[in-house]
Symmetry: none
Subunit: 152 residues, 2 copies
DNA sequence: CTTGAAATTAAAGTTTACTTTAAGGTTAGG
DNA sequence: CCTAACCTTAAAGTAAACTTTAATTTCAAG
């Protein structure tokens, strides 16, 4: 599979795929005699995980550390299981982050919809934001809202 | 309230608050005789909403359009609520996909760990990857995974 | 054999979201 | 009164995540 095909299938631009390779997110891939990159189907899964993780707010740097080390094909059963389990843990991390984001958004929606039609925007803001603060943890103990601590 | 105090309370750098003002996310604020910015308590709430929305994946540009027109008063909350709800739906969809992927992975792990120790590693790996492809449904109807359409 | 689509590289450019710097004016404490 | 901490501005700098450009090379069709 050449880069153009992979690009079509994944929906990512070829430049982006090459960029991920330069950045070490995709392991060294095979080259044909002509120097063209030859991808396996596995690469598509990797790209998908990268995109998903990005959508959940992970930086490429974090993703690089989450992805299993792409040492080539000595795939023993144990290593395969270990890699998959690691992936499950990664997915759980993604889910946690998504849940937090979603909970925060829903709280904000609830508050806005609870505002009386003619009312001042921030009349009861204080109370609801306090709720938000109690439920999840968008603030630290000093009372500042934390800048999205990226979770490795 | 001067900028330093607001910065301490919100946890945002003064430069960042001034930046948001330049970008039109915070309305025109009062100035003292000395030219110092004088903030009201409302501004803190606005800053918190900005941070919240950022964590949910909104760009500053999108946020600017969601926030009340700071010329005068009423914030048409319908637009804001609609956008936020749309975002929640997106997040839910993302989470469903993650769940499916995770469930698939766990099933695959269980299968591998149940295989008798005599098996061929590569045969196994092949089957595992096939499972992964079939079980998770990470693609849209064209077969691409969608690149997180940011919603205004 | 020629032509156009697709591949390669290195390097430079873009956007977003800030921060830092430089050069100053203001204010509170000792 | 002096000094340090805080405020002001415009402008330049930075980091992340890509994309675009330019200058080739290669492949596939007619």
């Amino acid at each position: 599979m050449k880069i153009g095909e992979l690009a079509r299938e994944s929906g990512l631009a070829p430049s982006r795929i090459r960029f991920y390779e330069r950045e070490g997110l995709i392991g060294s891939i095979d080259r044909g005699l002509n120097g063209y990159r030859q991808y396996s189907r596995e690469t598509r899964q990797v790209l998908e995980i990268i995109v998903m993780a990005q959508q959940a707010g992970f930086s490429l740097d974090e993703i690089r550390n989450l992805l299993p080390p792409h040492g080539k094909g000595d795939w023993s059963k144990d290593k395969l299981v270990a890699a998959l389990k690691k992936k499950v843990i990664e997915l759980a991390a993604l889910q946690r982050r998504l849940s937090e984001t979603q909970a925060g958004l829903e709280a904000v929606i609830a508050r806005i919809e609870a505002t009386p039609p003619g009312g001042d925007c921030f009349e009861n803001a204080e109370a609801v934001l306090a709720d938000l603060r109690d439920q999840s943890k968008p603030v630290d103990e000093i009372g500042q809202f934390v800048p999205a601590k990226t979770v490795a």
